[in-house]
Assembly symmetry: C2
Homo-oligomer: 348 residues x 2
DNA sequence: TTGTACGCGTTATCAA
DNA sequence: TTGATAACGCGTACAA
């Protein structure tokens, strides 16, 4: 067992060919005669050689086949969000042509933890939700000169972004409610800033997260006076809490609630039921994302369907393009309004 | 732009020191006088050098700082499962001391896709849910001679596993129900095999997934005659469907349902409500996992709490140990029974 | 504390 | 179709 692992050179020697020929047999980059091919493969088998060492190959090639995905939050938290999950799926697909894998990275790795933006062998990086905090990460990566793409966030000039028409889309949902005669509307927003607690939003300018701000602006475009309550995360239970706050005051009860995510909307619906309100007869609820909310049946949310996995795929493709030397343009995706059974005419 | 990126040798030259000195400045492995240190850092800054190339470093060191995590399913699907999500969190923690990152890998990468088990620069691999399919992946990895740990699955001799006392734990829940006087019990299981459809389980031997079989055995230990209905996945909606099937026949209605996951249990509870049954007065429901089911309040499931993130952490530590040359032993975790408010005495 | 010398395992290039 | 050569960029004995 003290034996050194066989290298391609050993295999070449055993097969009585040159190292380069052996290399070619494994990479398939150049035609090789069937006879030598066999010899090399047999030699490899005899020596227990299982193929080129990826480390050496990546040094030589200048490519590691790894794309970093940078999250702001705990990995566990990130994957609790169905939208991010879908994006990851799309991303995985998008980088597949590169033959690349996805390396999970957290923004602020604990210091001890070595693997990070600066030390991982990345070919490219995808930042998700670049809201200020990721700024440092961004700089680190850019300094290394590797291609970067940002999903949902502003990364400054020169960094392609994958965006969503949050404001326009949300305005569409609001208009839908307006056309149904709703006037007293409340909004349940995503977090106003990371690590924030839930509560009424008194000052729109205190919102640090782009997505939240944009969607809120879209709703306010139609209902300028609508009150807004910020959740602490995109969860059903958060929507429930927000809904309770909103329905608490009988006199001030809205006839419609615009939630900034489907999960929040599901919670709001539950809060409405709890308060003895029927959906959509007494109160209409809209969501955002267009995901499948497990356990929400028989309700089908009126919502904005966002192309989550397409966003991921686009990011992957952008990265792939940049790796080819092309420069990828920013992309803006649009949501599709979907009418479900959670909105209806405003009660008389 | 045609300029070659600066290397540590360039920096050394610029700073008028030897390459090894410059290297040491970045790695910190050896004391360096403050003066040279400054000179090197300044030179680096001047040249836009951002630190050692990870590819070269990993070749030299023989370590890439990357641990592969191999899933059987779509990434998106995997992360839909809260238990897996927690495990990932624990795993991330477990490998942190290694300074390693997690590379997401799918079992059967599309053929064209180069990067996979065989070509990624992995220091070690963690396979999740090794149920036959992963066999090939396992062989591939083992051939490369890198440490492997398997979570929830049988990988054969020599491969440490991280397991759960599924059968014993499930038996505990069943006993709890028995002690409450329940005799007519139904079971809602996890999928019987991957890609299977939901339906009654007529033949226990048709179950290909270990977890499903073990938990079912535990329930049958106490209630040998309990009927079992397999869901197509661990989702609330699947539990709902299963619950409907189970409660459909008035005459045959059970007084208790053992669900093999918390999400399934949540669905069963919903089905019970739908059928006009009160929980736990008319029907008791137990889950498995001990996760937080978003939106289930005010119910608190009677369930088996499994140490999901500990499992992940243990896998990470096992991998770390093996990388140190030690050989890691298999580990078997136990679940903790938690009584919530979804079980009660059998109705008279 | 700093420098020398070498090899890590591979692959691109070019010539034969 | 095959082979010789030369990097790829770094870390680390070991000597000074």
């Amino acid at each position: 067992m003290s034996m050194r692992r066989a290298t391609i050179a050993d295999v070449a020697r055993e097969a009585a060919v040159s190292p380069s020929t052996a290399s070619v047999v494994f990479s398939g980059k150049t035609p090789v005669s069937e006879a030598t091919r066999r010899r090399v493969l047999d030699a490899a088998a005899a020596l227990g050689y299982t193929g080129p060492d990826p480390r050496a190959a990546s040094l030589r090639r200048g490519r590691s086949g790894i794309v970093g995905v940078v999250f702001e939050e705990h990995l566990g938290t990130a994957f609790l969000d169905p939208v991010k999950t879908l994006m990851m799926d799309g991303l995985a697909e998008g980088v597949a042509p590169l033959g690349a894998g996805l390396l999970l990275l957290r923004d602020q790795e604990p210091i001890s933890s070595g693997s990070s933006l600066t030390t991982a062998p990345l070919d490219a990086a995808v930042l998700i939700g670049c809201s200020g905090l990721l700024r440092e990460s961004l700089d680190a990566v850019r300094a290394r000169g590797i291609p970067v793409v940002v999903i949902e966030g502003d990364a400054g000039a020169g960094v392609p972004r994958i965006e969503l028409d949050n404001r326009e889309a949300q305005r569409q949902a609001a208009s839908h409610l307006a056309s149904l005669g709703h006037a007293k509307v409340a909004i349940v927003t995503l977090p106003a800033r990371s690590g924030w607690e839930r509560g009424w939003i008194l000052d729109d300018t205190a919102i640090m997260i782009d997505v939240t701000r944009e969607r809120l602006a879209g709703a306010h475009d139609v209902f300028p006076d609508a009150v807004a309550y910020a959740a602490a995360g995109s969860f059903i239970d958060e929507g429930l809490a927000a809904g309770r706050a909103i329905f608490a005051d009988h006199a001030a009860r809205p006839t419609a609630v615009i939630a900034q995510s489907d999960l929040l909307a599901a919670g709001v619906i539950r809060a409405a039921e709890e308060a003895g309100l029927r959906v959509p007869e007494d109160v209409s609820v809209t969501g955002f994302d267009g995901i499948v909310v497990d356990g929400l049946a028989p309700f089908v949310l009126t919502t904005l369907v966002q192309p989550a996995s397409e966003k991921g795929r686009a990011a992957g493709q952008a990265v792939a393009a940049m790796l080819e030397g092309a420069d990828a343009a920013s992309l803006r995706f649009t949501c599709t309004f979907r009418e479900g059974n959670t909105t209806g005419p405003a009660p008389a």
